[in-house]
């Protein structure tokens, strides 16, 4: 479990709090979405998960290990995989397999073990067959999947995605979101996805809403989608179909809540 215990954080001594008294927990096998307007502290929260930032007060623990204790810091980083927004900011290898191997190489694993992990991670994101491809010849979606494979190759228990779909087209977006869902529900990772993507929110088991560095919502996606003022507060706007579904639900029609697309609204009305 990744646990935040009243975590506050400021970037500089005189800066306002970027996070203010955040308490939350992420269990293995759980898919949690984090939403919030720009500057609400989402990236700060993500970076605190594996000790890239040190809490100003409070503590972050990963399976009981303190995220900033020098004795456990590197263990924590190998347990929490990170995927950032721009894939070009995180690919260090000159060919696909070499990049995927970067994490395991840093862990000092033997070559044959690295090979096994690289092959299985690339297969998990559907990049097998492209081992020798240069990263700049990949599509943005493929690059982002490579970043996911690079994180997976460390065999982490938790994965934290910071707006992983922001640079992708709809096809690439769906592929990455499907991977996040599979990693949580089929493979038992604890997955935290920072996302503006309503589709990503609807898939989540739980949504955490941030505003001004505070947790203002922590609950099921249905609860958020039905609360127009809360949606506004966390900077989300529903797609037309979901807005229609929410309005119908408000008037007592039985439309299932995480209905982010027209198809599922129609399906539920047509019974």
């Amino acid at each position: 479990m990744i646990r935040f215990d009243s975590v506050s954080f400021r970037y500089r001594g005189d800066a306002p709090l970027a996070l203010d008294g955040v308490c939350l927990a992420l269990e293995a096998g759980e898919l949690v979405a984090v939403v919030g307007a720009n500057g609400s502290g989402k990236s700060t929260l993500a970076r605190l998960c594996d000790g890239l930032l040190e809490p100003t007060s409070g503590s972050v623990t990963v399976d009981g290990l303190d995220s900033v204790d020098p004795a456990s810091l590197w263990k924590v980083r190998s347990m929490v995989g990170m995927v950032f927004q721009d894939p070009d900011d995180q690919i260090v290898g000159t060919v696909v397999e070499e990049d995927c191997a970067f994490g395991p190489e840093n862990l000092g694993l033997p070559s044959d073990e690295i090979r096994v992990r690289v092959d299985s991670s690339l297969r998990a994101v559907g990049l097998d067959g492209l081992e020798r491809r240069e990263p700049h010849l990949l599509s943005e979606g493929q690059k982002q999947r490579l970043a996911v494979a690079g994180a997976l190759a460390m065999r982490p228990r938790y994965l934290v995605f910071d707006e992983p779909t922001a640079m992708l087209d709809p096809v690439g977006r769906r592929a990455v979101l499907e991977i996040t869902e599979r990693l949580a529900h089929a493979e038992g990772h604890g997955v935290l996805v920072v996302s503006h993507d309503i589709g990503g929110v609807a898939r989540a088991d739980r949504v955490i809403g941030l505003a001004g560095g505070r947790v203002v919502f922590d609950g099921a996606p249905e609860g958020l989608m039905d609360d127009a003022s809360m949606l506004l507060r966390v900077g989300l706007s529903l797609p037309p179909a979901a807005r229609l579904a929410a309005a119908l639900r408000a008037r007592g029609l039985d439309v299932p809540a995480p209905a982010a697309d027209a198809e599922s609204v129609v399906a539920s009305l047509w019974r």
Binding site: R77, D89, A101, N106, P135
Partner: protein
Amino acid sequence: MMRITGIGQYVPADSPVHRLDAAAKIGVVAVFTVALFLVHGFAGLAVLAATVAGATAVSRVPVRAVARGLKAVALIMVLTIVANALRWQPADALVRLGPLAVDGTGLRTGVFFAVRIMLLVTGTSLLTLTTSPVQLAGGIERVLAPLKAVRVPVGDLAMTLTIALRFIPTTAEEAEGIMTAQQARGASFDAGGPIARARAYAPVLVPLFFQLFRRADALATAMEARCYRGSGGRTRLVEDRMRTADWVALLATGTLLVVVGVLL
């Protein structure tokens, strides 16, 4: 745009030269260069030239690619010959052009030096032509490994080199994007003299550098998140090492050095 000149640029192929270990090839080139400086007669030079020609043939690198490197030094070669051959009223002139004359011994010296430059360029470019940049970086790391004893961060330098190689295409794309954006606002990159043209690039370089620094910062964070903490304790997916063929190549070049430097 960002045109890469192609001198000594890696030509992928499956040849015995390509398969040699990068560290061994660096050693071979180093020994060959020493031999080139020790050689003092045309006989020795001929042996070395035959070696380069043989290695080029075995490497299956197109002669054109090797010749491209020569074009860059052609002027230096010509100047070397001319500077050595032309004398002011020499005793034994081959051809006289007024008071200037082409001197026999001078001409021999000039040609000797020119061929030496030619072999130096073709020999060393064969290294980069047959070794991928990443393997080369790995090879340099292993060759320089002894310097770790005196605290030179060889591994970190090799990592830096690899990342620089990784980001050349990305940076080129970025520069292209910025230039297109500037052109859309009426900037022109090929009008005016060289100074006007250089000045037109300033609005490209400033945002490009800004981008590079931002990216370097983000990349450092991402590398830390993937447990990079300096090169110590790192292992590799592909552990390159010297095999029999590599030792044979190194030994053969060493023998060549002795033959050329001492006997010929």
